[in-house]
Symmetry: C2
Subunit: 159 residues, 2 copies
């Protein structure tokens, strides 16, 4: 699904990138082109080190520093999103053209259910005005048990 999304619009994404760079006086270099290429072949979520590994696998010689310097640019131009979860490394998520969504994670089987963020955005507007805060983003993760696990194993509900 997302893979399709990415592979069906590679040139559009390259244009987005090139235009962004051009408008900001940043150069469209070979290294950055290579990085975008491989980013498009990565799964939904990945870390800098994995990207570097894939570059090496494809015999593309790009320094680690360049990867770390390019990822923030891809975030700024709306292709990726940096998500910092409960691990030390930053994870990057492909977001270009995706609808905003949040996740429910099943504690038992690890299943991830996505749901639209509409109501969360509504709520956050409300919270923003109540707390005098200018909210621009959010991260929401619900944890619990998916339907199957909850019926399978009522005992696990306790946790």
């Amino acid at each position: 699904m997302t893979q399709n999304n990415k592979s069906s619009q590679p040139s559009e994404l390259k244009d987005v990138f090139r235009n962004y760079l051009h408008h900001n006086g940043i150069k469209y270099t070979q290294a950055r082109r290579h990085i975008l290429d491989i980013v498009l072949e990565m799964g939904e979520h990945f870390e800098a080190e994995q990207l570097l590994y894939r570059l090496r696998e494809n015999s593309i010689s790009v320094g680690k520093a360049t990867v770390y310097r390019t990822l923030p640019i891809l975030v700024d131009c709306g292709i990726l999103k940096a998500v910092r979860f409960d691990v030390k490394q930053t994870h990057y998520e492909f977001v270009y053209g995706q609808d905003p969504h949040d996740h429910m994670v099943c504690n038992r089987c690890g299943r991830i259910v996505e749901f639209s963020s509409d109501k969360v955005i509504e709520l956050r507007k409300q919270l923003a005005s109540e707390n005098r805060f200018h909210v621009t983003g959010h991260r929401l993760q619900l944890t619990g048990l998916c339907w199957e696990c909850a019926t399978d194993c009522p005992v696990a509900i306790k946790k």
Copy 2:
């Protein structure tokens, strides 16, 4: 408020800690006692390094490694919660006996504003039934600019 909460039940917390250690075959040592003492004097949120600094301030000699080894124990026994915001260091939050709440983090000054989770819990019930998921917990973090930064630096709002 929280300070009162903590200082009004120090012995209860010490019991919780001692019992937890005892039940898990972990020793109730002087270093761990000292760390709990200072944790109770810390603000709502703190980092390992700040805790270490406060220990030094109080002329309590505890190694950095011991602090890093003790904090996870305090998390396991329900006194603290480890919260990872979008910064590199882990933040610890006093949660024993506290009402659930979530956070807004200012992108500019790093300030953390807490707000009640009531509405989030309401929302998550709704989302749970819509998506057939048994929700037991959540993590919500709003990001943006606190009031001061938003007025100080309207330009930053763009980001």
